[in-house]
């Protein structure tokens, strides 16, 4: 199967995978009537699309062979798809947590250790739990009709396919067109990371004493300290603005809740008065 697939041009491969993914999503999205045939056909199309994406990824470079990257990317993508096709919103949230774990794995493979952990802590630890609380507060018993029927599954799957097709085609062109994004000279990058914008300047050793492996990531040395230095050095104003934004969101949420309760009470009183008259 791989042999036949490898003879296709990458563009054809990506187009086929995107089409299969869209058809599979369309079959899997909730449309009222549950049909086992549509479900299994959708799952099969999804598997075909995934295989196509993996082969296309290997054509774009060899990373498809890196088992860790492949595994975490598959976890992220498959559970992301399950997030949007599951009927029950609680299962949706839990699939989203699994997708977050996959994304955190991708970030770790990309060398962003702090961001991988922060994704788990902030998203899965705080935001997702907030979602689950709201679900517990607001979920009616059983599956609601609006969870079992969705808006325009065909049109949305086509829209997603068009977007994904455009994006993946431009990624493919990126790989063929080397002049647009020549890889930065590694020595220059390492040098600039060492000298520029370092908050840990006093601890830095001369570059000559650090033995660099050939494929070292210039971002990987002392990552958290230097990320903090960058964040609170060049981006200090943005950090302050983000703090103000968090405070405003906190106060705004509380204000909306209290004002909303008052308005609801007012509405109820009006309705009661109207009923009595």
């Amino acid at each position: 199967m791989n042999g036949a697939l490898l003879e296709l041009s990458p563009g054809m491969l990506l187009a086929g995978s995107v089409t299969a993914a869209a058809a599979g999503l369309w079959l899997l999205l909730p449309r009222g009537a549950e049909s086992r045939v549509a479900r299994s056909l959708g799952l099969m199309l999804g598997a075909v699309a995934l295989a196509g994406f993996i082969v296309a990824g290997r054509r774009l470079g060899g990373v498809g062979e890196d088992a860790v990257f492949l595994t975490v990317a598959l976890v992220a993508v498959v559970s992301g798809a399950a997030t949007i096709v599951t009927r029950s919103p609680v299962y949706s949230a839990i699939w989203f947590a699994l997708s977050l774990a996959g994304v955190a794995g991708v970030l770790l493979v990309l060398g962003a250790q702090f961001l991988g952990v922060a994704t788990i802590v902030v998203y899965a630890g705080a935001i997702l739990v907030m979602f689950l609380f709201v679900l517990m507060l607001a979920q009616p018993a059983g599956l609601a009709p609006y969870d079992r029927v969705c808006n325009e599954p065909l049109l949305s799957a086509v829209a997603g396919a068009v977007l994904l097709g455009l994006l993946s085609l431009s990624i493919g062109r990126l790989s063929s067109d080397a002049s647009c994004c020549a890889a930065p000279s590694k020595a220059a990058a390492v040098q600039s990371m060492k000298t520029g914008s370092g908050a840990t300047g006093s601890q830095q050793q001369p570059a000559a004493t650090i033995a660099e492996p050939a494929d070292a990531d210039p971002l990987a040395i002392d990552q958290v300290a230097r990320l903090g230095g960058e964040l609170f050095g060049r981006h200090l104003l943005a950090v302050e603005v983000a703090g103000v934004l968090l405070l405003a969101a906190l106060i705004g949420a509380i204000a909306v809740v209290t004002r909303g309760e008052a308005a609801l009470e007012h509405d109820r009183r009006l309705a009661g008065a109207g009923g009595r008259r």
Partner: protein, 153 residues
């Protein structure tokens, strides 16, 4: 040839960009198709995840902190957005009793047609089948005095 996971590796960049694009497109489909307000927000968060992956991939490729810093701000804004949006969702639920986006379709333009639900299959009426358990054990004798004297449960 550069090693696969090296910093300036275009292969890793392209594959990570592909993963980010797929996550973004999945989130788009979810936000367009689903009607549950909370699932729509989850889809928006999925789109943010795709953006984060792309940003970190570019950051690694260029050996530059910009993508990392942007992702940190994306996390911050996502936290704010989730707090405020979930308050609105709760208010909407308190007013309509549903988490349905179509419950607010009275706010649409006057020229747009009304969204009509598909008919749901009648199979809902069938009660769920519970597993049947074998009888096991002996019922313990109940002490009626003790059950009456209990102060609290």
């Amino acid at each position: 040839m550069t090693p696969l996971l090296a910093a300036g590796s275009t292969a890793l960049l392209h594959n990570a960009l592909l993963v980010g694009a797929i996550l973004f497109a999945l989130g788009l489909v979810g936000i367009l198709a689903r009607r549950n307000l909370i699932v729509m927000f989850l889809s928006a968060e999925l789109m943010l995840q795709g953006i984060s992956v792309s940003l970190v991939a570019w950051s690694r490729y260029h050996g530059d902190w910009g993508g990392h810093v942007l992702v940190i701000f994306v996390l911050t804004v996502a936290a704010c957005e989730a707090a405020v949006a979930l308050v609105f969702v709760l208010q909407a639920f308190a007013r309509t009793g549903r988490l349905d986006a179509a419950a607010w379709q009275a706010l649409r333009e006057a020229t747009l047609p009304r969204a009509v639900d598909h008919a749901l299959p009648a199979s809902d009426a069938v009660p769920p089948r519970w597993p049947r358990l074998a009888r096991a054990g002996v019922e313990p004798p109940t002490d009626e005095d003790a059950s009456l004297e209990r102060e609290h449960v």
